[in-house]
């Protein structure tokens, strides 16, 4: 029961309180770039969730079972980026073979995920927070993906309506999106007291 409680807390904290996009500024590029339409935003969110779950868990295993026993922490960043690039490649190959329609709909997003800072950022945060058991690392990775999907979908919903608003010319595009993101972050600050 206690373990379940910890895992649930970890999930809520990464989705709402420590949301990677809104409080840690990770994955801002796709957040600004692909949030024009809800269906595209959702597709991107799913792809990121998949890759981040895979690579977050795998980097934890590599970190704790290979790098730490062998004192190779110096090579950590290089290993992380290799794992992420490998995971993206794997997902791409798997999808092309087993669900071509899904692969088509993801299109350019998949290779772009390699350089999505949300993924590397989450691996680094798991390391920084000193998570020492595998289930918690896995839950955090999955939750980070869900949090990203939620943030980008909310943003896409707002932007679809924003298209109809009369925004000053110089603020159109990225500036108004950033200001909207700022207001959204203010709203999410309300969750801050939920978890110590």
């Amino acid at each position: 029961m206690d373990t379940l409680n910890i895992l649930l807390m970890a999930f809520i904290s990464i989705v709402l309180v420590n949301n990677l996009v809104l409080t840690k500024f990770l994955g801002i590029c796709p957040y600004l770039g692909v949030s024009g339409r809800i269906d595209m935003a959702f597709g991107m969110g799913l792809a990121v969730t998949f890759v981040v779950t895979l690579s977050g868990t795998m980097t934890w295993m590599i970190d704790h079972w290979i790098l730490m026993p062998m004192n190779l922490e110096v090579t950590r960043y290089v290993c992380y980026i290799l794992v992420i690039a490998g995971a993206v490649q794997l997902v791409e190959m798997y999808m092309r073979k087993f669900s071509p329609s899904l692969y088509e709909s993801f299109g350019i997003f998949l290779p772009l995920i390699t350089t999505n800072c949300a993924i590397l950022g989450l691996c680094l945060f798991i390391n920084l927070w000193g998570i020492d058991n595998l289930p918690e690392a896995a839950v955090l990775s999955f939750g980070a993906g869900i949090g990203f999907t939620m943030a980008i979908c909310i943003m896409a919903g707002i932007r679809e309506n924003l298209n109809m608003a009369d925004v000053p010319k110089c603020l159109r595009g990225a500036p108004i999106t950033l200001i909207t993101a700022g207001l959204l972050t203010l709203a999410f600050m309300g969750f801050a007291g939920m978890i110590k």
Partner: protein, 206 residues
């Protein structure tokens, strides 16, 4: 001969200056948004971040430019990231050793330079096509533009949120700091308004 040398010099100069305003990575190209938002709560971390990026950018541009003829197209991006990751590790160890406090403040955002789009973008768009000298100059210009943008944003945010710049008090004691500008929400809103201002200025000039 003289005119030839002249065009090369002007090309160098144009490449160097492009990063500062015309192709400023933050304000015009919207690259490297994550560190731009994350480390600009105060000027000092912003400056450290900017200089680290300059170091990584110059080094990776040199290496990529030197190996540009050996690269296989499909392994290109992977080689870029591995080169960048190596130099970021060097920068991270350097910061940890010589300015441990600053390294703690910046936290995971130093290793996150690996996936900073500016560096990959310059490797792809400039260093993999040009010789070493142009690549170095391009890296310096882009790095300077990035550092400048970071410092401007950080100065605005630090000034309004604490009434100080570079930790030196500027405003008198009656000033009530707007703490929200040092928080994530303030980062988004400051950048949004600054981008709007840049758009306004560049439209007036055109």
């Amino acid at each position: 001969m003289t005119s030839d040398a002249l065009t090369t010099t002007s090309l160098y100069k144009r490449t160097l200056l492009a990063g500062l305003w015309r192709e400023n990575p933050v304000f015009r190209l919207l690259l490297g948004m994550c560190p731009t938002l994350a480390v600009t709560a105060a000027v000092k971390p912003a400056l450290t971040m900017g200089l680290s990026v300059v170091f990584v950018l110059v080094c990776s541009n040199i290496v990529v430019s030197l190996m540009r003829n050996l690269l296989k197209p499909h392994l290109r991006i992977l080689m870029f990231t591995l080169t960048i990751a190596t130099f970021v590790t060097i920068a991270d160890l350097f910061l940890k050793t010589f300015v441990p406090k600053m390294s703690e403040t910046l936290g995971p955002y130093v290793p996150l330079i690996i996936v900073n789009c500016i560096i990959i973008c310059r490797a792809e768009a400039c260093a993999s096509k040009n010789n070493v000298i142009i690549s170095i100059i391009d890296a310096l210009g882009m790095g300077a533009g990035f550092t400048l943008a970071l410092c401007i944003l950080a100065a605005i945010r630090e000034f309004i949120s604490t009434g100080a710049v570079m930790e030196i008090k500027v405003l008198p004691a009656w000033f009530v700091p707007w703490a929200v500008l040092s928080m994530p929400a303030g980062a988004f809103i400051t950048l949004g308004l600054t981008l709007g201002l840049v758009n306004l200025i560049s439209k007036k000039r055109a």
